[in-house]
């Protein structure tokens, strides 16, 4: 599979969080890259992440884009998006589930998290979203 966003999404739909590792210098990237930004090498291999990490940054969004409004989020029901630092040392951006977006003071940076795959939409038009929730 090519090291690109299409393959990354395909893996996500199989509930696998996959990155790429440079065979020359061992640098790890998620989402995958086809060109290593450390050594400019082009030989990559797939690596599955364990799906564990901790919260590095977050926000509770009251005014979201149309696809989030459709999920029922609004000013009274904010959702949470965040940056998660994985155990492997790389970071991803993801939805943060299992926390209360209307009580941001209860959400702590450094909270241990584990991956969750959110399936949304009808079967023919189903989409998968990367999320994390507290361990």
């Amino acid at each position: 599979m090519p090291f690109n966003d299409i393959s990354y999404e395909r893996f996500l739909s199989e509930e696998k969080l996959m990155g790429s590792r440079c065979q020359k210098c061992d640098a790890l990237f998620i989402p995958p890259r086809s060109i290593c930004i450390k050594c400019h090498g082009t030989e990559m291999e797939w690596v599955e992440m364990k799906g564990k990490g901790k919260l590095a940054a977050f926000t509770c969004i009251a005014i979201g884009p149309p696809f989030m409004i459709k999920e029922g989020y609004d000013r009274q029901h904010p959702y949470v998006s965040g940056v998660v630092e994985l155990e492997e040392g790389v970071r991803v951006v993801a939805r943060i589930e299992g926390v209360d977006g209307s009580k941001p003071e209860t959400i702590k940076i450094g909270t241990p998290l584990q991956v969750e795959f959110l399936h949304r939409g009808e079967a023919s038009n189903s989409k998968i979203f990367l999320a994390f929730k507290p361990l």
């Binding site: 966003d5 005014i63 904010p78 998006s81 951006v93």
Partner: protein, 421 residues
């Protein structure tokens, strides 16, 4: 950087103008640009003939999406009556017109042109807030959009990382907002030319007239802490941490240094320009600074042989309150983690040692995205020439000013240093 960069020949700014920024149902992009252009001409001390313009560089980001019209270069060239002179549109999200400026500088420095008009325009207010949010998200990384991030959301997340690293809080962001409003109160071109205190008084007056309970805020911070007055947009970004949706245009006239005195005895010289690129949130080494800003600043400082302490006044890209704090650190004005303290101590106020965003910044002046980069230059033009009226900074021998423009979530950052000699 392998070698010291240099311009092939000097470039000077000899005129600068902007439309009023705001939300205008009755003004379109062409009308707004004409307003900016006419003002620009009126600022050229010895006059100028539009026929002398060799080329136009125009920044615009979202008109394709918001008003379903692209290809703005020739439309504006035709508006000004300068066809068939070439017109080039630049796109760098919210830094689009700073890129136009840079291309204009290169075009003159190369010796190709002598007189270049650079500017920007944006028409955003004819769409709903949700549509504008979606349109602007086109400049974020695709991963951020899918994770539900909006622009306020990205800067909200950056703020939580900054708070955790340096011990700052929402209270510190409020200092930025209060200062921006105090400055914008003195700027007739600003979208919100009122102080927070003015807004509080208006609300109290309105409550009295309607016979509603009268709010009892003791000070500006208590107003900003009130969720009814200042609701959450993307925590910790609240309404008053965010720049508004705006329409507007701005432009400046650049000429070769050797002919500058034909236009004015008081030109500003382009002594530093820098531009950098950055990565998405997930790939950033650290969430509390912008690599692209640091690179752009280094490039501009090297070209100008100036240091951060030489810059006396600056307009920085405060799309969100936290951004202003991070930029004044990245540009070297204050050490990392100390920007919020500098704001708290009043150092960045009009009467401070390093006035920042004397125009009111994006927060209050408005942020018609493609017009912002050259709009910032209009403020520095006024300040360095002593023409900023009530908001003129009281610094003696004011000679060096700078502008910092940011596109996307830090994907494109620019830094420009101007000098009055």
């Amino acid at each position: 950087m392998q070698r010291r960069r240099k311009l092939g020949r000097g470039v000077a700014m000899v005129g600068a103008g902007m439309s009023r920024f705001g939300m205008f149902s009755d003004k379109d992009s062409k009308y707004l640009f004409a307003e900016a252009f006419n003002e620009m001409i009126s600022t050229v001390d010895k006059g100028m003939d539009p026929e002398d313009i060799d080329a136009l560089y125009l920044g615009n980001f979202t008109n394709d999406f918001f008003i379903h019209q692209g290809h703005w270069g020739p439309i504006i060239a035709d508006l000004l009556g300068i066809t068939p002179k070439p017109a080039t549109r630049t796109e760098g999200a919210c830094a689009s017109s700073a890129l136009a400026f840079r291309e204009g500088v290169f075009a003159i420095a190369s010796g190709f042109y002598d007189v270049v008009l650079v500017g920007g325009v944006e028409e955003m207010s004819k769409r709903s807030t949700e549509e504008v949010t979606q349109g602007l998200a086109m400049a974020a990384s695709p991963y951020e959009v899918k994770a539900g991030f909006t622009f306020p959301g990205v800067f909200g997340a950056i703020a939580t990382a900054y708070f955790a690293k340096y011990g700052a809080s929402r209270e510190h962001l409020m200092n930025v907002t209060i200062k921006s409003h105090n400055n914008a109160r003195l700027n007739p071109k600003a979208q919100f030319n009122v102080s927070i205190r003015d807004i509080m008084n208006q609300r109290i007056e309105r409550a009295k007239n309607k016979g509603e309970p009268i709010p009892t805020w003791r000070d500006e911070k208590e107003f900003l802490r009130d969720p009814r007055a200042n609701p959450v947009v993307a925590w910790p970004m609240h309404l008053y941490d965010c720049c508004p949706i705006s329409d507007g245009a701005s432009c400046v006239l650049l000429v070769a240094e050797e002919i500058a005195k034909n236009f004015t005895d008081n030109p500003l010289y382009v002594v530093g320009i820098g531009q950098g690129s950055g990565q998405g949130l997930h790939a950033k080494e650290d969430l509390t600074y912008f690599e692209a800003t640091r690179y752009a600043a280094q490039e501009a400082y090297e070209l100008s042989r100036l240091k951060p302490e030489d810059v006396q006044i600056a307009e920085v890209h405060d799309c969100f309150s936290i951004a202003e704090i991070i930029h004044i650190e990245d540009l070297g004005f204050f050490k990392p983690g100390e920007g919020y303290k500098a704001v708290e101590e009043g150092l960045t106020r009009l009467d401070g040692s390093k006035p920042i965003n004397t125009s009111g910044g994006l927060k209050c002046k408005g942020h018609p995205v493609g017009a912002t980069g050259t709009g910032q230059l209009v403020e520095i033009w006024k300040q360095l020439r002593g023409e900023a009226g009530e908001r003129q900074v009281p610094i003696k021998d004011l000679r060096i000013g700078a502008t910092h423009n940011l596109g996307g979530t830090g994907g494109t950052c620019t830094f420009i240093i101007l000098e009055r000699r």
